[in-house]
């Protein structure tokens, strides 16, 4: 029956059925792909491997279709769908309505499946060069993970559930999510989470196929970098959003949700370095498998933590009934990984000779161990409320625990970042030359002297910040070597872009850590109550309270406190959403310069017109955002256009027609 002749009230119903039908078809196709790909990989049947891969592409296309239907429903305010009613209303802007796609539990799962499907499809396109077994198993694993998400979407958390009565308006998005950050942070971090599955699938497939060589590393290197880059961007955007929205003057609170995003990032950071040891020296094979598997397990664990609400978090809006499903999935993944590693321990073997401690690979190994130690510290702090709660009295650790336990580890990692790139591969016959050490050494001396002259006596600051300068000095040393032959500069950059992109990422991390260190060591805060015309001075910055005013906006009212700061006026506010039961939210006012942020929070206004404020001066916070941007630029410059060595090697051996 043509849709055009249907009654208007039937359109939404059809939308719901279209979406639910697409998800159901994707589940069938995903399950088919998983079973067939495993079988075809085991049989090394080339035709069936292709069919299994195509089934994965088809499942992805159906998920994309379901996503399109959901987006259509959100943008057309189709309140017959429970999901649309729960996460948007008529006053929600078009951009935030579109962002409602991943604003709720069900939609974010669909978004996750969509990213996994799309990136997984891209990763499978050229996987035939890895051999039939490996390609078949990788497709099977990816399809199995995709099918898990589809099972949850179809059976437990469907975004296409219909309401029996269509309401005239929706409930609207949670006020804390009604922000520009909503448009960028969640999709990036969720995409990062989803993309960790791809290296995991290929690593596990390589183990299943008995192929512990570096081919899977070369094939998935870009996807590991994509996962790491997305997670880096997501973490920095999350910090930026928290800083601008939550109104407590900081950007990182060691909240469980922040921790579970940080842990896979740390594991993948370790992997990106140790995989170079395998590619260059053929070592650390078992360790690399372990790291990739650990990163994915941490992602699944994090999803369980966020969605189940088993530990207290600021992200409680994400809690739902799917926690047990993810717990079961986590259990299956752990058992699968442990059994696989145990069964394949014979092919992984041990390295013939130990890694020389004073060498590039030695520095990588130590850095890896330190990063994993940080993961353990963060993991323990995250699960402590859960573990202690099961034993009787629930205990929660604060920032002090993480700073005391992880801080020294980060300091040693910084030292390795400064020294490691100066060490040669294999055994270092001699220490780095005095010339090579000149820049980082000078940076340490200059920054240390400057801090002492400025009156800084904090030991952590006197250790960390000179080391940050040394990291930057090392990066500049490497670039200075490059620049010594100006004529060769373009060709050198082209040939070794991966290396120099990595140094740029190191430099970005140094800038980011400088921002974190400065804002951590020297943040100043003052809580004041001011009558109109009165001033407050914090760290040399003077602000004048000029009065307050009430503003009516489309979906909320704002009580604004006006603070004159130099030639500009800062407008911290408290927003009240009457349509959402009077929920209230702080709108922070920030004046940013490269030196410091002046950060003002309005606590309230009394009847006599006086207002209470929290005023923070946060040094070098803008360096954090700049550092994050430099890291991403470094990763992009170092890897866009870089050839995949394994595929190239195979292409040289095999006729082109076979691989296309």
């Amino acid at each position: 029956m043509p849709v055009a002749v249907l009654d208007d009230s039937l359109h939404p119903v059809i939308l719901g059925y279209l979406g639910a039908g697409a998800l159901l078809a994707a589940l069938v196709m995903g399950g088919f792909s998983a079973v067939l790909s495993f079988w075809a990989g085991r049989q090394q049947n080339p035709v069936m491997v292709q069919v299994g891969r195509r089934a994965f592409y088809a499942a992805t296309a159906m998920i994309v279709a379901a996503g399109g239907v959901l987006e259509w429903a959100l943008l057309s305010h189709d309140f017959s769908l429970a999901y649309v009613t729960e996460h948007t209303d008529l006053s929600t802007s078009t951009a935030l309505s579109a962002a409602g796609f991943y604003g709720g539990q069900e939609g974010s799962l669909l978004y996750w499946a969509l990213v996994l499907g799309v990136l997984g499809s891209v990763s499978l396109v050229a996987s035939a060069s890895l051999g039939l077994r490996l390609a078949g198993y990788a497709a099977g694993l990816m399809a199995a993970i995709l099918s898990f998400f589809l099972v949850v979407l179809v059976l437990v958390a469907s975004p296409f559930d219909l309401l029996s009565i269509t309401p005239p308006d929706g409930l609207g998005l949670n006020p804390i999510l009604r922000d520009g950050g909503m448009l960028i942070h969640p999709p990036v971090i969720l995409a990062g989470f989803a993309s960790f599955a791809i290296p995991f699938c290929f690593a596990s497939a390589a183990l299943m196929a008995g192929r512990p060589d570096s081919a899977w590393i070369a094939h998935t290197r870009r996807f590991a970098l994509i996962a790491w880059g997305l997670q880096t961007t997501g973490l920095v955007l999350g910090m930026w959003w928290a800083y601008h929205v939550l109104g407590w003057g900081g950007y990182w609170g060691w909240d469980p949700v922040e921790n579970v995003a940080l842990m896979p990032w740390l594991a993948t950071t370790a992997y990106l370095h140790s995989s170079m040891v395998q590619e260059t020296r053929g070592r650390l094979r078992a360790w690399n498998f372990g790291l990739v598997i650990l990163a994915f397990l941490l992602v699944v664990f994090g999803t369980f933590i966020v969605r189940s609400g088993v530990v207290p978090s600021v992200h409680t809006f994400a809690i739902s009934a799917i926690g047990p499903w993810f717990l079961a999935f986590l259990f299956i993944c752990i058992v699968f990984s442990v059994v696989l590693l145990a069964l394949r321990s014979n092919v992984l073997g041990g390295d013939a000779e130990p890694v020389a401690p004073v060498s590039r690979e030695g520095a990588f190994v130590l850095q890896n161990l330190l990063l994993i130690a940080v993961v353990v510290v963060v993991l323990w702090g995250t699960v402590l409320p859960l573990v202690s709660g099961m034993l009787g009295q629930q205990r929660v650790v604060g920032a002090a625990y993480y700073e005391r336990a992880a801080g020294p580890l980060f300091v040693v990692i910084l030292a390795l970042m400064a020294a490691g790139p100066l060490l040669p591969w294999r055994r270092a016959a001699r220490m780095p030359s005095a010339r090579a050490l000149m820049w980082p050494g000078a940076a340490i001396v200059v920054v240390l002297a400057a801090l002492l002259v400025a009156g800084v006596r904090s030991i952590p600051a006197l250790i960390a910040l000179p080391l940050v300068a040394a990291v930057a000095g090392t990066c500049f040393t490497q670039y200075a070597r490059l620049g010594s032959g100006w004529a060769r500069l373009p060709s050198m950059l082209r040939r070794r872009r991966r290396r120099y992109g990595a140094y740029l990422a190191h430099l970005g991390l140094a800038v980011l850590v400088a921002g974190i260190g400065a804002s951590h060591f020297w943040q100043q805060e003052k809580d004041v109550t001011l009558a109109p015309g009165q001033q407050v001075t914090v760290a040399g910055y003077t602000l004048t309270y000029t009065g307050s005013e009430q503003r009516q906006l489309s979906d909320h009212t704002e009580l604004v406190g006006l603070m004159r700061f130099g030639d500009s006026t800062l407008e911290p506010a408290r927003a009240t959403y009457s349509g959402l039961g009077g929920q209230s939210l702080t709108h922070v006012a920030i004046s940013t310069t490269p030196v410091a942020d002046v950060y003002v929070v309005l606590a309230g206004v009394t009847a006599d017109g006086s207002a209470s404020f929290s005023v923070f001066v946060n040094p070098l916070v803008s360096w954090i955002w700049a550092g994050g941007a430099i890291i991403i630029v470094g990763v992009l410059l170092g890897n866009i256009g870089e050839r995949a060595p394994a595929v190239e090697a195979v292409r040289r051996r095999v006729p082109a027609s076979v691989l296309t």
């Binding site: 039908g21 196709m29 279709a65 076979v658 691989l659």
Partner: protein, 60 residues
Amino acid sequence: MALIVATLLLFAAGPFVLWPLIKTPVDDFISPPPGESLSPPHPLGRSAPPEKRALPGGGV
């Protein structure tokens, strides 16, 4: 209704998914037992050399 939509979508995707089976002559995709090498070139010389069989069309 969702079942009908799903069935239609699966039928629509069928030709794409099964295309490698459709285009391959029956005697060309007999798979060897696990662990053994793939079958030798076709007696009429029409099929691909062994390397090609081991690394089949990876395009899709």
